[in-house]
Amino acid sequence: MAEREDDELSIPRAALNKMIKELLPNIRVANDSRDLVLNCCTEFIHLVSSEANEICVKQQKKTISPEHVLIALENLGFGSYKAEAQAVLQQTKAFALKKRKASTKLENLGIPEEELFRQQQELFAKVG
């Protein structure tokens, strides 16, 4: 992992470049403009984080939850992002639920172990 100053922490350039290309395929974007947008991203993250943190503290919670972030977005004037943010949250929850279901499915086939063992013996007998 490349050693990087904490102060230069930002989202990866490649991700931003891909986004710019998809959004504005026919426009040239100068390098310093890309740098500026990267800095704007970092500022945005800090802004939302500190607002969400304040809300979290007011609710006397210790962990910033997704709901705190949604309220923060509303307070900061980015209420229009809430709908999409909520959609992503639903997707994440659904995905996590699916994962959990899949793992329990394997454990609880519904057939007890002795029965499985018996079935296995029968199969061996058939082959032998």
Partner: protein
């Protein structure tokens, strides 16, 4: 059931976002879905910023999206107020276009209308005239030279020798 085409553009790494969040000492624990939501909000933010800036770029008929275009958007919307500090060093668009007296060279100089270039010429001539008020012939020669120039030379320096 028809599924909506999910625009999975560029998703930003949640781990990186979390690191950035926790650079702020006040921020403590962060639930795991949080960086993912912020990633989506960030996508929307960039989309909004870039498409608005693009409107400015297109309106100015520029081929390249510059920091000045971004600055003008940041200053025009209150929701982008938090970005003002980032663009204090960035030149304003109005400055670059309206200031006919500046000799500052920008790459778009050559696309400036001829009127500005002749203004520049006139300014130089006035300066020269003032310097060499008794040397009318020299002034005329230099004036003609400048008039023939089709490009602007911001570093043009004229040395007048008196013998």
């Amino acid at each position: 059931m028809p599924s909506k085409k999910k625009r999975c553009n560029a998703r930003f790494p949640p781990a990186r976002i979390k690191k950035i969040m926790q650079k702020d000492e006040d921020v403590g624990k962060v639930a795991s879905p949080v960086p993912i939501i912020i990633s989506r909000a960030l996508e929307l933010f960039i989309e909004s910023l870039l498409s608005k800036t693009n409107e400015v770029t297109t309106a100015r008929k520029a081929k390249t999206l510059t920091t000045s275009h971004i600055k003008s958007i940041i200053l025009s919307e209150t929701t982008f107020d938090f970005l003002k500090d980032l663009v204090t060093d960035v030149p304003d668009i109005q400055q670059a276009e309206q200031n006919g007296d500046t000799v500052t060279a920008t790459t778009s100089d050559l696309t400036q209308p001829k009127q500005r270039r002749s203004e520049f010429t006139v300014n130089i001539c006035h300066m020269l005239q003032h310097i060499s008020s008794q040397d009318n012939i020299l002034y005329t020669i230099i004036h003609k030279l400048l008039a023939l120039n089709t490009t602007v030379f911001p570093n043009f320096m004229c040395e007048v020798e008196y013998t």
